[in-house]
Symmetry: C2
């Protein structure tokens, strides 16, 4: 297997709401909802999704019909199966990004704090419960 991830797809309950959170609330660039021409049917999931092309080429996708596309039952809403991490340049940048996420409607789980392994970080949950960790690592150069 190539050591590569090209797409990270998040299941969302309400595509418009999730799009607004990531585009308007967090400021990620996107062309908005695409794929609405594929409405789905008994066999096929709907194609409607929103995609954000991130630095480095990774695509972050918001997709209401992920479970149907994978042919599995729709999961119950919960957090903690995975988290998405972003490195920032300073302790203050961690606090600022968490505050911005909260202002956009995210849930902060606890104040950011030092971890024993030397990072300063805090988590937020997006509107569907997906976890993000915002991290300052004094030993790394954030890009």
């Amino acid at each position: 297997m190539k050591p590569r991830v090209d797409v990270l797809t998040l299941a969302v309950a309400d595509l418009g709401r999730a799009l607004a959170f990531y585009r308007d609330g967090l400021g990620l660039p996107t062309e908005g909802v695409i794929g609405e021409q594929w409405a789905g049917d008994e066999q096929n999931a709907s194609g409607a999704a929103a995609m954000f092309e991130l630095d480095g080429g990774l695509i972050l996708a918001l997709y209401p019909d992920l479970a149907k596309d994978a042919d599995i039952p729709r999961p119950a809403p919960q957090s903690g199966a995975f988290s998405i991490g972003q490195l920032v340049d300073s302790r203050e940048a961690v606090d600022e990004l968490l505050a911005r996420a909260e202002a956009a409607g995210a849930t902060l789980l606890e104040p950011a704090r030092e971890r024993p392994w030397g990072i300063y970080s805090g988590y937020f949950q997006d509107l569907d419960g997906h976890l993000w960790e915002v991290i300052w690592n004094p030993r790394a150069t954030a890009t």
Copy 2:
């Protein structure tokens, strides 16, 4: 917010088992388990994790104590909240990677198939139920 993901962390029930799946079964490069010196306590999660540095700099991390680190209840095992996508070069490469994942212990959900939006893809679940989609997109040049 920077349009960037630096780390994708997967919660796993058994770190050694998950490491063997990704390292030995799928062939992803890693230095193995790190952070065992932080055993955790009432307040702090354990630091033990395994990391894979992927092309483009994204780090894929396997981490048993994610929920505790985020200060949330440990989630029930389930699939479908997210999926990780990898683009490959051909239809045959989709089938080959799915077969390799299955040989390594993954669960295939259905045979790979054409989607209405023009890709050929199939999903597998890793040992913890995390979804991967292996994709051939005839309109894109896989890298």
